[in-house]
């Protein structure tokens, strides 16, 4: 009897210990809630999964699908679709983007390109003829609107790598559009900033205005028209968008605003699966998107940086900022000279990614001042806003997605097909201002993009999933975040929240260095002394994007999410 009791005691003790360990593990991931000051670095913690995106409600949508047994691809599309509702000014079915996918079982990375295309009637001189001096032709008229690719991209990704139907993963977004939510400060401020465009193209009665005026923080926002549109797509499939009644509404809206899109343009749109681009940085392997995305330039920038002892120079030091800024200017010169749609132009990827190319540029940069010129040349200055959106998902099998999608500027073209509740992009503004060259406007072409969603592997294991919106600032800011983590040893969210800087070159000439004012005054003064003209932005400026990332911490068995406070970034995992 006593032996039996002893056995029972051992058994229950064993259970208790297991329970205690489990409780501790569970308790370990129930960390303190996010700080009231959203700018204080904070990592969301999970053990099996994580979703990070630019809005909490979009994160919930992705997580719901994961909890229902969906994989990372299902979760990513659910999140992307919910962002159309919760963050409609940055992306949606009226736009396009890129998605990089890691398939854990196959240990393979692939890319879905769903960038918008120019209509078939588009031509090289279009903006020149219309008058380049009037930027409205490339931003708020129908000529600005590219054939949307988001739905085709989501659908392709789900069919090839998902486990759920499009209708299933769209459901949380439909519910959200019907239920509504409270307007955030970010939404309100962007709504105010883009008021004129919305008023002009969508009118006072649009759902994107509150009785004809911008929404204030805390206002209720519902989008029943978008709910109806998404439900229709869920019921009938994407053909209703590309070939059916929604296609007709898109063409009507675009042509009413003097655009060239036809029903055939929509019907012939295809998202494509392509090989990822690969690079190295200090022993880590980077997978990102190929042209017309800017993964190429992200790797170029890191290749140049790898020649420098950055960690010795110090975080936020003038020496580091000066060198990376000069590298940005040189890379932007290449970007203008070579980047375009690889279906139409040959992009010299290998040459630009060669160690020789990086060494040459690193050697060109002087420690004691800025360069006189940056070759090759021709970059047209633009007043690109912080736009687009990015999300990352990892599932319990280790599959992962980094997805950047956009309607280009905030609130895109401001053109809304009647009764649909979604905003059409103004992505054709990303074509060059010249009628020749790799990124000249042309029929069926995809304009060059600054997007660069990425995976970083260390010792053969996926360690970092990362991406950002932010127009031309995207790939330079992603390089800064990677350097913050690898060279300066910052945690993921410290790296994301750290002060940002950006510059580029134009026609071979130097452009100002934009800074968040959180850099030390001494650094700013030193940079001025080196010849940089400084533009001070806001402390956490949306201009520099809104990066989202996931870091897999194998040693601690944790999955950490970092979400940018420059927008309404949020994460959650389990």
């Amino acid at each position: 009897m006593s032996k039996l009791r002893a056995e029972h005691f051992k058994f229950f003790s064993f259970l208790a210990i297991i329970g205690l360990i489990s409780a501790c593990r569970t308790a370990a991931i129930k960390v303190t809630p996010p700080p009231a000051d959203r700018h204080i670095p904070y990592e969301y913690v999970g053990r099996k999964t994580m979703v990070v995106a630019a809005h909490p409600l979009a994160v919930e949508a992705g997580l719901k699908i994961l909890k229902e047994g969906g994989n990372a691809i299902d979760g990513a599309v659910a999140t992307a679709c919910a962002l159309n509702v919760a963050e409609p000014f940055a992306s949606g079915i009226g736009g396009g983007g890129f998605m990089i996918i890691y398939l854990a079982r196959e240990n393979r990375v692939t890319v879905i390109n769903f960038r918008e295309k120019a209509p078939s009637a588009f031509y090289a001189e279009i903006f020149i003829e219309k008058g380049e001096e009037a930027p409205t032709w490339r931003t708020v008229k129908g000529t600005a609107v590219g054939v949307p690719g988001a739905l085709a991209g989501w659908d392709l990704a789900l069919r090839r790598y998902g486990t759920k139907q499009l209708a299933q993963v769209m459901q949380p977004a439909i519910d959200l559009a019907e239920r509504g939510f409270k307007i955030s400060e970010t939404f309100s401020s962007i709504n105010k900033e883009e008021y004129e465009k919305i008023l002009t193209n969508a009118g006072e009665k649009t759902v994107y205005l509150n009785n004809g005026l911008p929404y204030e923080p805390g206002d209720d926002f519902r989008n029943p028209e978008l709910a109806r549109t998404l439900r229709l797509i869920a019921q009938k499939g994407i053909d209703v968008f590309y070939k059916g009644e929604i296609a007709s509404k898109i063409v009507k809206a675009v042509r009413e605003k003097e655009g060239l899109m036809t029903l055939e343009d929509l019907a012939s749109y295809r998202a494509v699966e392509v090989e990822p681009l690969r690079g190295q940085y200090r022993g880590a392997e980077i997978f990102t998107i190929p042209p017309p995305g800017s993964g190429l330039h992200l790797i170029q920038l890191l290749n140049i940086a790898s020649f420098w002892p950055i960690s010795q120079w110090g975080l936020n030091s003038a020496h580091y900022l000066h060198h990376l800024t000069e590298a940005m200017r040189l890379v932007f010169a290449d970007r203008e000279a070579y980047l375009g749609d690889p279906d139409y132009v040959q992009v010299p990827v290998e040459k630009l990614l060669s160690p020789d190319s990086a060494r040459l540029k690193a050697n060109l940069i002087r420690s004691n001042g800025v360069l006189m010129e940056y070759l090759p040349e021709e970059i047209k200055e633009k007043t690109e806003a912080g736009n687009t959106t990015h999300l990352c998902v990892i599932d319990d099998k280790g599959n992962a997605v980094a997805l950047t999608q956009s309607i280009n500027h905030f609130f895109g073209s401001g053109i809304i097909p009647e009764g649909t509740g979604f905003i059409l992009n103004n992505q054709l503004d990303d074509f060059a201002s010249t009628s020749s060259g790799p990124n000249a406007p042309g029929p069926g072409r995809r304009p060059a993009s600054s997007m660069a969603p990425l995976f970083l592997f260390q010792e053969g294991k996926l360690r970092l999933i990362l991406g950002s919106p932010g127009g031309t600032r995207i790939f330079p800011c992603l390089a800064e975040i990677i350097i913050n983590i690898i060279d300066f040893g910052l945690s993921l969210d410290e790296a994301i929240e750290a002060p940002r800087f950006f510059s580029y070159s134009q026609n071979g000439r130097i452009r100002p260095l934009s800074l968040e004012p959180r850099f030390p005054q001494a650094t700013i003064k030193e940079l001025e002394a080196l010849g940089h003209k400084i533009t001070i932005r806001e402390a956490y400026d949306k201009y520099f994007g809104g990066a989202q990332g996931i870091l897999i911490d194998d040693k601690r068995g944790l999955i950490l999410g970092g979400a940018d406070s420059r927008r309404d970034g949020f994460g959650r995992g389990y």
Binding site: P135, E185, S189, K192, E193, E194, Y195, E196, L199, E204, N211, G212, L213, P214, E216, T383, A385, R537, E538, Y543
Partner: protein, 185 residues
């Protein structure tokens, strides 16, 4: 008892009389009004919509100069700097400030009263916006501000120094009533 009642009625009457006279003491403006921003902010468009709703005959000119004041009886200046707006207009802060100073001088010369509005809240503050606020406010005859933009009391201080009536509102849409009242004779 009767006396107390009469006293109460009297006090209520005095209260309302004071309220009405305070309202009527607010400066009055005449239309047509020229609307422009000081800093190329987006709120200028909202003021144009509110002016339309208030029935104010107006013209919105984002790049108005002193010459453009001809024929106008009021100037509505919408305060706050926007880097995006300045970029789109092809202006930098110095050029915009030059335009605004010229406009302020022109209004003074032509004796055109200025109504300043700051509707961008806390987000439309900061060193660059504050430069425009400090430059324009002393010349204003009346100021309307969304409260969150006056958390640090800058508008209150500047208005008190010059004895300028300041109307605080919670939301942009609430600017409609004071605008209407300001243009109702």
């Amino acid at each position: 008892m009767k006396g107390e009642k009469a006293l109460s009625i009297g006090l209520i009457f005095i209260f309302f009389w004071l309220l009405i006279s305070a309202q009527s003491n607010l400066p009055k403006f005449s239309s047509p009004a020229l609307i422009t921003s000081a800093g190329q902010n987006a709120e200028v468009q909202m003021v144009a919509v509110l002016a339309k709703r208030a029935g104010i005959d107006h013209n919105l000119n984002k790049l108005a100069t002193a010459q453009d004041l001809a024929g106008f009886k009021s100037l509505l200046l919408v305060l706050g700097a926007s880097m995006k707006g300045l970029g789109a207009a092809g202006l930098d802060l110095n050029k915009e400030m030059e335009r605004i100073r010229g406009l302020l001088d022109g209004a003074k010369e032509k004796n055109i009263p200025i109504l300043c509005l700051h509707l961008g809240g806390e987000e439309r503050r900061g060193a660059q916006s504050d430069e425009f606020i400090r430059a324009c406010l002393p010349a204003a005859r009346m100021v309307i501000v969304v409260k969150s933009g006056n958390k640090d009391g800058l508008f209150t201080r500047l208005c008190q120094e010059k004895g300028i009536p300041l109307i605080e509102i919670d939301r942009t849409t609430e600017a409609l009533e004071p605008l209407k009242n300001a243009f109702t004779l």
